[in-house]
């Protein structure tokens, strides 16, 4: 064992030297690429990639980021997002935007067939959008993005589809690059949700061949693949024959599977193994855009209906240190509670809007009338203790490191007089909406991966009787905030857009309606003998269609 360890170290040392002298490994988006470079040698066609993933969604297609990861393997989208954030052709070879910014006309490729033989055409695209926006089909993520803006979809001719909007929506093209908007075979869609759950059909680089529950999904190469996005590293069918997408839920197992050679790639490298992995594998970390893991503070419910108390809570904990401690520096702190640092137009100034300052928190709480303390040190007002319940979906959304951050926070908030009750919600409680009603929580932890700051419209549009918005978990209704976000979504001038989005982030921060913790990240570790696995930008989906083994 000891000998093997030394050999590994020596190889790693050489690898690091090579890495620092040779050109850097290809970067992806705002991702961090570290570790050893791919082995040199002749790339070969064929082979099977064994990939160790973490979470297993119930169905292959739906609106969770877990679904987007899968969608990337078997679906093509209309457009793709490059590392630089520009939108490039995919199934759409080009598009025209009307002068009033209300109509997007997509010109489709004419040579693409879905893997069931159905032709890709404008009718197929229309069927997809109409189905996704239908409340019966459960793709509520598509609805969250498009619902308020979508007016109609029209087939102009066989290969021209026009998407019409109610009002200008500049993030549209970026939005369409996400896996949830992948285009499926209309023939397959017509089979209904049962068949589409385990055997959806697209035109993508791989075909979902087999799903062994709890174990693996087998993707086989689509030999006729001719529709890679413009930012792919090669056109044509994938080099490898198969991708075995294994579900390795236990972190020890997942990393062990990589080190023992049972897997070629793994997802979510455990933070305790990060340093070791950086000496042995190609490491990529992608910080997903959108909302970071943040606490929404329920502004409709005492004591957080008082902005002073919300701000006091934000000042009360050293979140930066808590995140560094729990994630060992691997996952970055993101103090801005509305957008994560890799989102376009993110305002970094807000990361330190509430630097740890317990004295300030104490003053604010005094001002707000929480002056007395009980024998436990919890503040009181009119005889009532300053109690806060913080809900987080343990496992499904917040992992053990995230839970440690919350415990740290709760402990520090207690010092200034908050009695913080951390409530780990089970998956069924969380997704069952047990904590959706306003009177069930004071704070709720969550993230939302998105490539556009237009996401603010989903998380912060007002909850009104005639226009409900259940994704506004802070219950923060502010017409000015909504208007500012909508102006950002509509602005064609990038500088102007940034000003609006920045103003919106500032309102959320000033109001302490959301408190940022840490970013949502995709990390993968790749064995040196496999080259060109990359992470795409819209959702951090691993891409295997360009990957090839080295001889």
């Amino acid at each position: 064992m000891r000998v093997r360890g030394r050999v590994v170290l020596a190889v790693a040392a050489i690898g690091v030297l090579v890495a620092s002298s040779a050109c850097a490994a290809p970067r992806t988006g705002d991702g961090r690429a570290t570790g050893v470079p791919a082995a040199t040698g002749r790339p070969v066609d064929g082979g099977v990639i064994e990939y160790g993933h973490e979470q297993e969604p119930p169905c292959a297609h739906a609106g969770w980021v877990q679904n987007a990861y899968l969608a990337r393997q078997y679906l093509d989208n209309l457009v793709s997002l490059t590392d630089e954030g520009t939108v490039v052709p995919w199934l759409a070879t080009g598009w025209d935007v009307s002068p009033d910014r209300l109509a997007y006309t997509f010109h489709l490729r004419r040579d693409v067939r879905f893997t069931d033989g159905t032709r890709l055409d404008a009718a197929a695209v229309k069927t997809n959008f109409d189905t996704y926006l239908d409340t019966k089909t459960q793709n509520s993520t598509v609805t969250a993005y498009l619902g308020p803006y979508f007016s109609a979809g029209r087939v102009l001719d066989d290969f021209t589809y026009r998407l019409e909007l109610k009002s200008p929506y500049e993030p549209l093209l970026t939005v369409l690059s996400q896996g949830y908007f992948g285009i499926q075979s209309p023939t397959a869609l017509a089979r209904g949700p049962e068949a589409n759950c385990t055997a959806p059909v697209g035109s993508g680089p791989f075909v979902l061949e087999k799903w062994e529950r709890n174990r693996a999904i087998t993707f086989v190469r689509n030999p006729n693949y001719n529709s890679a996005p413009a930012n792919a590293r090669h056109q044509g069918p994938p080099y490898v024959e198969k991708v075995i997408w294994k579900f390795l839920k236990d972190p020890v197992l997942r990393y062990g599977s990589l080190t023992s050679g049972s897997s070629d790639v793994i997802y979510n490298v455990p933070v305790v193994d990060w340093a070791d992995a950086s000496t042995r594998f190609q490491l990529r970390q992608y910080i997903t855009g959108g909302r970071p893991n943040a606490v929404s503070l329920n502004v409709t419910r005492a004591p957080f209906d008082d902005v002073r108390v919300r701000r006091a809570f934000a000042w009360s904990a050293d979140r930066r240190a808590a995140v560094r401690g729990a994630f060992l520096g691997v996952v970055p702190y993101n103090g801005n509670g509305s957008l994560s640092r890799s989102t376009p137009d993110y305002d970094p100034a807000l990361d330190d809007a509430y630097r740890y300052d317990p004295a300030r928190a104490n003053r604010l709480l005094d001002d707000a009338g929480w002056t007395r303390r009980d024998d436990r040190g919890i503040r009181l007002k009119d005889g009532k203790p300053l109690e806060i319940s913080l809900i987080y979906a343990a496992g499904a959304i917040v992992g053990p490191e995230g839970a440690a951050v919350l415990q740290d926070m709760a402990q520090q908030a207690r010092e200034v007089g908050f009695d913080v009750r951390l409530v780990p919600a089970t998956q069924s409680e969380h997704f069952g909406g047990k904590y959706a009603p306003a009177d069930t929580y004071h704070g709720y932890v969550g993230y939302w991966t998105s490539p556009t700051p237009g996401l603010l419209h989903i998380n912060w549009r007002q909850r009104l009787p005639n226009s409900p918005n259940p994704n506004n978990t802070a219950y923060y209704n502010d017409p000015e905030l909504q208007r500012t976000i909508e102006q950002g979504n509509a602005a064609t001038d990038p500088a102007q857009r940034q000003r609006y989005y920045s103003a919106a982030q500032r309102i959320i921060s000033d109001q302490a309606a959301a408190i940022g913790l840490y970013t949502q990240t995709t990390s993968i570790a790749v064995a040196p003998r496999l080259r060109d696995v990359w992470i795409e930008k819209s959702q951090g989906e691993p891409v295997f269609s360009d990957a090839r083994f080295v001889e």
Partner: protein, 339 residues
């Protein structure tokens, strides 16, 4: 030790674990078999009913859960969104109606369709149960192997090793499956590479997960067996066997071991059911296919038909295992059937 001695005499420990009271089988009359089958049916009905009620009455709305799980969201849903889901699965039917529909389906052998996987529950179970049965049966066999070896070598002997051996059994019986599984994984699969890291379907991959389940169980069975073994060693027939000049090993094997296995055998029927619980963990740690992981995933998403179907399937295995145990009594101790 005293408790194990108490329960060991009549082999009736299983009634403590919710199994219908089982007496030593008498003559295999039609009445006895009818009673036994009725008892088995009762167990199955109780399992199905309990699971149905637990799942149906748990807080949270099932239609909301289905929609949110697909979307990765936790929001409440509008009546427009919920209506089609409720209509499809009959969530808004009266509970009694849902229950009757469910039981009616069970009687026809129709376990329903999984909400989440959109597949017939029966086919999900048939796909997944074989690896778990192989795992639990192997674990049980391994546990017995450990128990018989340890008992033959150590039980009833006095000396410096008796105390530590007993302690070892107690420790083994209390080992958490997750902890043991990870240790075995790291040491024997990741570091030493003696076994595959992912269990797969080969026999070599079965060893570590089976050991994960077998070691704690063997500690438990061993405590029961050891006590009984020590008692049997002092029985008159053992003394007379020794007096006839039979060697120590032969005496232990032919006269004592057989006698002392009865209580542990009785527990084995229960253990087969209990092992399904540990199988969840072993399957996760070793990335093994199986019904345990399916059950956890189904429970997390409140997939009522799937959870109920799996529980009924496990209850069936449990009932069958106990029938087999009853039969084995007669093999181990012919006096039981003759009585």
């Amino acid at each position: 030790m005293t408790t194990t001695a108490d329960i060991s005499s009549d082999g009736d420990i299983s009634s403590e674990f919710g199994q219908p009271a089982r007496r030593r089988p008498g003559r295999r009359t039609a009445t006895a078999w009818a009673g036994r089958i009725a008892g088995a049916a009762l167990v199955l009905w109780a399992a199905a009913t309990t699971t149905f009620l637990l799942q149906a009455l748990a807080p949270g709305d099932r239609a909301t859960l289905l929609l949110n799980l697909a979307a990765g969201q936790s929001r409440d849903r509008t009546p427009d969104e919920l209506a089609p889901v409720n209509a499809k699965y009959g969530f808004t039917d009266p509970l009694g109606q849902q229950y009757l529909d469910y039981l009616g389906g069970l009687l026809r052998g129709d376990l329903g369709t999984s909400y989440q996987l959109q597949e017939p529950v029966l086919s999900v179970i048939l796909d997944q149960i074989a690896p778990t049965l192989v795992l639990t049966a192997t674990a049980l066999a391994l546990a017995w192997l450990i128990v018989i070896t340890a008992t033959m070598l150590g039980a009833g002997r006095r000396g410096p090793l008796a105390g530590p051996a007993n302690l070892l059994e107690t420790v083994a019986a209390g080992l958490p499956h997750y902890w043991l599984g990870v240790i075995l994984l790291v040491v024997f699969a990741i570091e030493l590479s003696w076994f595959p890291v992912e269990s797969g379907s080969g026999p070599r991959g079965l060893v570590l997960p089976a050991l994960t389940l077998a070691v704690p169980l063997s500690g438990f069975l061993g405590q029961v067996t050891r006590a009984e073994f020590a008692r049997a060693l002092d029985q008159p027939h053992v003394l007379s066997a020794r007096a006839r000049g039979l060697g120590d090993t032969a005496t232990r094997f032919r006269h004592v071991l057989r006698h002392s296995l009865i209580p542990a055998l009785s527990i084995s029927g229960w253990a087969m059911g209990a092992l399904f619980g540990g199988a969840v963990i072993a399957e996760t740690v070793f990335a093994r296919a199986g019904i345990g992981q399916t059950l956890v995933a189904a429970a997390e998403s409140r997939d009522v038909p799937l959870v109920s179907g799996i529980v009924v399937a496990i209850a069936t295995v449990y009932v069958l295992a106990n029938l087999v145990v009853d039969f084995l009594y007669t093999v181990v101790d012919p006096r039981i059937s003759a009585a």
